[in-house]
Each structure stands twice: as structure tokens, then as C-alpha cells.
Subunit: 312 residues, 2 copies
């Protein structure tokens, strides 16, 4: 059973449950409208040693930041502002004391940057391996929420930053050279929090998510849930310096925003985004009324057996 | 550094953060008022193999129920009704497929009993050992919220069920006899959800929490946060059949509600609780204007070096 198979199984198990006002599984976050035209959003991510990180290849401080960053990114991908987190950590004896304090320093520093208080959680001993779970809570006007299911044929597809740096960094870590600039990018992802909140305010932005498993895989979720297809121009994928096209399209953990927007508004949106944030949006293709993801090279479809990313 | 030392360190790290409307660390749950006179509450609990459970001594189905139960208990201890959960599970290869499906059956069955949808979470591989994190969300009128800090001198101290069954069951599991009735109680805790919600509606109930680490330890949190003391009459502690007084006072994981209530309302409260739920409240002592916990035997203080419970 794959992870997606298990999630699909879980979704069916709970399909008949009362919703209690929640929009559940399927987006980056669960959504709860709370009255006054506002909603809260919720997400949890679990990081386990040896699967999501190697202790010898990251500092505790970096890992503290990354544990939070991946959750803030999920909140921002809904168009919401993160407002608080809960942190659970299981620590083996050889990661107590100094390691734990350093981890918390990294967690605190990124929390300070986005003003998110730590409001709860759990700490416990582990018999083997570090495990970290973060639950992030976000908040925004209902009308700002962006879902994966809302892409429309004709929409322009954008990514909000260059891709592949994290994937190449991971390759370098696994090759035994963890001291490269891109390996540092992999260990220190920057969630696009302000960008996500800003894009949330724009009604011309339709579907949005963050890139955690790679464009080739993640865009598929938008297409499936929106019942649309997409044509992506390989030449337009913004490849980070030092990376390569395939890693940019298939590597994971870039944590850049991927979204679709009404094409007639696309140029003004991109110009205003550039003015606001000092870095560009990258238009990489368009949504079609077809099915699935088509790669285009020089305007012609190219069959590529490209898939998303698996962890260590 | 102890667990409490680490939590205290974390509390200080975040002391200067913006609250964003949250009441944070210190109670069973974090609290967020959401307007309309209502609040949401949030709690997370992490269970790790070898520390919180032994795979050979529990079925996957039981563990699925217990993972949820301990969180529902925290929500109920605030006087709130659980409305949804997020579940993160890390599974090693030898707990995939059948184990995972059985675990979800147990989680679903208890979710169905309390009508709590599963709205999000994460599933991932683990290199070693099963880890489970549940985040539970509850909801209630602001005026129903019960905190640990609100005990008043003169209050009667109550527990809402018999104690010690889980602790004795754990002793039996560790002694190699996991097939006893009390061992089954340890593996299948029953959160007092309806009782907590009902007690939340009663203004004469002041401080409340759930008993997870044992009366001797948990009551100390209420006393510390309320700046009061307590006298507990040993004869009045309700010892579950097959358990003993010391285990009832010090054993963990009973998940019964512990609370204080205005003494002039105590008898009527107990009578109405009995009528509502068909089982009694147990008055076990009273809150004083002093400090710390005093055990009384036949009305006389008795020095006992009794402490709370540690996991496996």
C-alpha cells in the first residue's frame, strides 16, 4: 500500500462522518469557517529521522526551522496567515539536552520571523530516532482561501520562485558533500508566507498549493481535483542556479507556491507581485480542458517519464 | 533535563511572543476565542513505541482507539466537545498494511462514537518504531471553559470515576500477564467526553483537568497554577476493583476527570451527575489556602512520598 493508497483508504473510512463545519482531507490544510467571514486552517506534518532527515547531515537548529517551515508553507498555500503552532517531539537519549535546546532555538527563530506563538504540544522520550510533529493553525477571510480544486481551463500556471535547489542539495548531501550552498538550501527551506497571504487577497488566483513533492507530482493534484489538464513549457520552468531541469521538475521540498490564475489578469498580477516582493512570478504553462500533464518543448508535446520525489 | 524542565524552557522561549488571541501552554489544551461567545481548544499527544506502548502487548486496533482517547480526554477536561482530529502516523515496514488498517479501524470506531471527523494529518515511513501524533480540536462556549488555575480555597475536590485500574493493568502487562481485565482497561481507556462537556456547563465547577500522570502528580498542577493547597482523604479515593490505594493515587492513564467545585453546590452537583450518567462523582478532599498536597488518613496528615507515574 502506498502513502496515497493509505490516505485514500482513510478518506473512505471517514466519508460518512459528520463534517462539524470542516472541509477535510484533500487540500494543504483542513478548513473551518468560524463566523465573521473568517476561516481557520489546520495542517500537520510528521518528520522522522532517517526518512525526512539524517541527523549527521543537518544541525538541530536547522531541523527546528525546517520542521516549522514545511507547515507554515502549507498554511500559506491556502492563502492564510499562520497564527500559532503545536509541536510534538520524541527524543532519544542521545538527542536530549544540547540537541533539544538547539532544535528549539531554530524553531523559535523562525516562529519569531512570522510571529507565530507555540501554544501547545508534547515532549516525550523515544526508544529510537527523533520524531517531530508540527500542527500549524492559520487564519484568513473565507474569500481569500485557495484550494487545489479551483483551477479553470485557460488559467495561466505560475510558480513563485526558482525550483530544483533543494533537490540538487539533497543529491549533494546523499553524495557525501553536505557543505554546498544548495545542500544548505535543502536544510533551510524558506516558506513563502507573505507571498501566500498576498496571493490569497487576489481573486484572479484560482488554485494554489505548495511544492513539496515536486512539480511533476504536485501539479497532478490540482489537475485531478479540478478535473482539468495542463501544458507545461519546459523552457519556462525556472531552474535554480546549480540545479538542472529534471530536478527542478521532479525534485521535492522546494516549498515554492504553485498556482493558477485567470490569464487576462496574469500580466498585471506578475507585475504587482514583482513590485511587492522584489522577485518574479514564473509563468510556466496553462490549464486546459483536457486531462493530465503535458510537457511541451518548443511548443511540441514531449513524452517524459517524470515523477515526483521520494524522501531519503 | 526532565520533561517538565524542557516544557518550562520552551514556555520561557516563547514568553514574549504575540499571543494572536491564544491562551497557550499550561492547560490541557490551548484556547482560541473565535467570536460569537465561542472558543476552540487544541491539544496534541505523541505516542512512541517502547515508551507509551509495547507492540506485543496491544493490538493495533486498541492502539488506534487509545491514540484518539487520550486527546479527546484532554479536550473534555476543558469542558469542550471534541469536533475534529488530525492524525500523523509513522510506520516501519513491519507495521504496514494489515497493522495500519487495523489501527485505523480502532481510530475510526472511537471517532464514530464521538462524531469527530478526521480532517487532516500525515502518513510516513519510519526507520524504526511506530510513532503516532494526534491533534484534537474542541469547541464550546467561552463561559464553559475550565482551566487548571481556577481552584478556590474551600472548593471540594472530585474525581469522576474510580482510579488505579489502568495502573494495575500496566503492572500486569509488564509482569507478562497482558490478558487480565485491568490490562484491557489500560489498553482501552474511555475518555469522559460527555461528562466533561456536562461539567463545563456548570459554573460551580472551577478547575478541571484529566488524570493522565496520576492524582499525586496531576493535582499538583492545579495547586501550582491556582496558588492553593489541598487536603486529600485517603479513605475517599475510589480504588477500582483489583487495584490498590497507592496505584489509584500514583498510577497513570486513568483518564478520569479531576475537578474542584464550590462546596455549597457540591451535593446537588453530585446528585445531578449521578442522575445524568448513572455513576457517581467521588469527593476526595478540599482545596485550602495553603500550599501543596496534604494526604489525610482518618483526618490526620500523613507524610507519603507518593509521586506520579512514568511511562514504560
Amino acid at each position: 500500500m502506498t502513502e496515497f493508497g493509505f490516505i485514500e483508504h482513510i478518506r473512505k473510512l471517514f466519508a460518512e462522518f459528520p463534517a462539524r463545519g470542516f472541509e477535510g482531507i484533500g487540500d494543504d490544510c483542513a478548513i473551518l469557517p468560524i463566523g465573521g467571514g473568517e476561516a481557520l486552517v489546520f495542517t500537520s506534518d510528521l518528520l522522522t529521522e532517517g526518512v525526512h532527515f539524517l541527523r549527521r547531515a543537518t544541525t538541530a537548529r536547522e531541523l527546528g526551522g525546517k520542521s516549522l517551515a514545511v507547515n507554515l508553507s502549507d498554511v500559506a498555500a491556502m492563502g492564510a496567515r499562520p497564527v500559532a503552532t503545536l509541536l510534538s517531539v520524541a527524543l532519544p537519549r542521545d538527542a536530549a539536552e544540547g540537541w533539544a535546546l538547539e532544535f528549539m532555538e531554530g524553531y523559535r527563530a523562525l516562529s519569531a520571523r512570522y510571529g507565530t506563538p507555540l501554544v501547545g504540544g508534547d515532549t516525550t522520550r523515544s526508544e529510537s530516532g527523533i520524531t517531530i510533529n508540527v500542527t500549524a493553525i492559520g487564519r484568513c477571510p473565507l474569500t481569500h482561501l485557495k484550494r487545489r480544486r479551483d483551477a479553470l481551463p485557460g488559467d495561466r500556471v505560475f510558480v513563485a520562485g526558482e525550483l530544483g535547489a533543494s533537490g540538487t542539495g539533497l543529491q549533494e548531501i546523499l553524495a557525501g558533500t553536505p557543505d554546498t550552498p544548495l545542500a544548505a538550501v535543502h536544510r533551510n527551506p524558506e516558506p513563502q508566507v507573505d507571498e501566500g497571504v498576498w496571493l490569497g487577497t487576489r481573486p484572479e488566483v484560482h488554485a494554489m498549493m505548495d511544492l513539496s513533492d515536486g512539480l511533476a507530482s504536485d501539479l497532478g493534484h490540482i489537475l485531478d481535483l479540478s478535473h482539468v489538464g495542463a501544458e507545461i513549457e519546459l523552457e519556462r520552468i525556472p531552474v535554480a542556479a546549480g540545479s538542472d531541469l529534471r530536478t527542478a521538475a521532479c525534485g521535492g521540498e522546494d516549498y515554492k507556491l504553485l498556482f493558477t490564475a485567470a490569464s487576462e489578469c496574469a500580466e498585471r498580477l506578475a507585475a504587482e507581485f514583482q513590485a511587492q516582493f522584489g522577485h518574479p512570478l514564473y509563468p510556466i504553462g496553462r490549464i486546459t480542458s483536457g486531462e493530465g500533464l503535458t510537457w511541451l518543448r518548443n511548443g511540441h508535446p514531449e513524452a517524459l517519464d517524470w515523477h515526483g520525489f521520494s524522501h531519503y
